[in-house]
């Protein structure tokens, strides 16, 4: 089971065998692992009679693409999609901007009170979000932001862990470049914009992808905040689908809806996988 890299011992043969066995085990496990996804996609193409057929059929007789159209029109999915995109996009931009600025301030500038403030930030990183939902909701109510998209974006736009992540990365950027720029009379703003930010691209990507996926997947806070249909995000819309249906649930439509809500996540993840994986591996971020 251990790493089979016994190179130099003339063991290439055994290594080849080990890899082959690993490949077989991984393929079997991988297929097994994908079953829920495959089942979701397979169901999404079935007719209602196939859904309720027993024993279940793994492959639908015909691919009913019309299920997707029907699911899309059953509830205002385009609205939910837009809301989710808007909230996730705005949150991501805000988080990257505020976190990188605060991170730069903590990592690179010296001023009285800095370390104390940073300690306060650190102290709140561990506090779980569900602990704050009651006072946050009361606050949003006073601000008149209940049932608005702004009410979803604002509390997520300023994160202590994003600031922490940025600061840690920026600390590792060599100071020489920056000092040279200072000698040439560059302002702190220009240094941030033209030196620090371009060099921080990997961590910006990591933070951006984490924030986007986190916001896209978020359920608890929208569930508390949003009541009107036109302000719902995708996860809320999906549960509405589940609750709305009569006794004979049209599972094929539910699965079609689930499938197209997963697709954007897949795209973002596959495109940014490198940064996402690196972010998890180096900092253990829990998404």
């Amino acid at each position: 089971m251990m790493s089979q890299r016994n190179s130099g011992l003339g063991n290439t043969h055994r290594r080849w065998l080990g890899n082959g066995m690993a490949w077989v085990v991984l393929t079997l496990l991988g297929v097994f692992w994908m079953v829920p996804f495959l089942w979701m996609v397979s169901t999404s193409f079935k007719g209602i009679d196939e859904v309720y057929a027993f024993p279940p059929r793994f492959f639908p007789e015909v691919l009913r693409w019309s299920n997707y159209v029907e699911a899309w029109q059953a509830i205002p999915f385009s609205r939910f999609f837009f809301n989710s995109l808007f909230v996730a996009g705005a949150t991501t931009i805000a988080v990257v901007l505020t976190s990188s600025m605060a991170g730069y301030s903590f990592a690179r500038l010296r001023y009285p009170g800095r370390d104390l403030l940073f300690l306060a930030y650190l102290g709140t990183i561990m506090i779980p979000f569900p602990v704050l939902i009651i006072p946050l909701f009361i606050l949003m109510r006073q601000l008149g932001l209940v049932d608005t998209l702004a009410g979803l974006i604002l509390p997520a736009a300023f994160t202590a862990w994003g600031t922490f992540l940025m600061r840690q990365f920026m600390l590792s950027i060599p100071r020489e470049i920056e000092e040279a720029a200072r000698m040439d009379g560059a302002s702190f703003w220009r240094i941030y914009l033209q030196i620090i930010m371009p060099l921080s691209r990997p961590v910006v990507a990591t933070l951006g992808i984490f924030t986007f996926l986190g916001s896209w997947n978020d359920f608890l806070w929208p569930l508390i905040m949003i009541s009107s249909v036109e302000n719902k995000t995708l996860p809320l819309g999906l549960t509405m689908f589940q609750a709305q249906v009569p006794i004979k649930t049209p599972w094929q439509l539910v699965m079609a809806a689930a499938t197209f809500s997963v697709i954007p996540v897949l795209i973002v993840f596959v495109l940014g996988q490198k940064y996402y994986v690196r972010g998890i591996a180096t900092t253990g971020l829990k998404g």
Partner: protein
Amino acid sequence: MDPVVKNIALTRPGDPRARSSGKVTAQHRTGALSGLRREETIAGYLFLVPNLIGFLIFSLIPIVATFGLTLTNWNLIGERTFVGLENYRKLVSDGLFWQTARNTVTYTLGAVPIGVFIAFWLALLLNRKMRGVVFFRTIFFLPYVTLTVAIAIVWAWIYHPELGLVNYLLGLVGIDGPRWLQSTTWAMPAIIIMSNWKGIGYAMLIFLAGLQAIPQELQEAATIDGASAFQRLRHITVPLLAPTTFFILVTSFIAAMQAFDQFYVMTQGGPAYATTTLVMYIFQNGFEWFQMGYAATVAVVLFASIFAITALQWRFARSWAYGHEIDR
């Protein structure tokens, strides 16, 4: 501004070497420093302020307010009344609270150790130079990134008592499957299985990072000395991976204690509160029964438990996770 300061600040803006440079006299140095410092202080706060304001309003104030709220009763509409420690007293004798606490513990103990164990073996399997490794890694990781709500709906369909995939497969081997999500006995195990499936990718990735940090020479030296694969696993990989394991355990425990989405979607806490978790209990008290003070009290207890468990794990960690590093 002092002309000397101005001069230095102009010729050498922000050059920290100016401070240690022998050419600058002591008098100039302090003058330049204060000018630079003021500029840097202003910039520091300007860069911090957008985040700081949001941080104060949306993190720090709510944290303090949570504790304050526990001392009151409020239904959002009527008067807010101060009740002292009444909410805490109520909590102690609230059977439903204890049940949700038990549920949360059951879920955490069911979801975390098994998941970490499987993730460890998966990571070992994936930690090799082989074609397709990235592809497999992606497969095992995908459930973790997909939205929980969609995943939970899919699994609710898989657990369907009559039409579900699970009971169909069980039927093939002659087992009459339970009514999963509608059964007080089986709803929790069903959600635990689903959560393990979803969450393993996270632990796997961190294990992989930990494995890749183990020096290859150690393994090779042990192989030359005739150590078997099992011996290498037992005496090199496992001990060196202990800090990683510890880290995964802590973060996974913290996350599991806050589980909500899959419970809300799959069972809504039922049947008969068999799958109501602490976070769901906070949610119900706050937004279904409008007992803000009591909901905040449950939240404080959740926070305290997470804090206590983390502290406890740190204490244990000293003896087993970092023990071997101290020995060296």
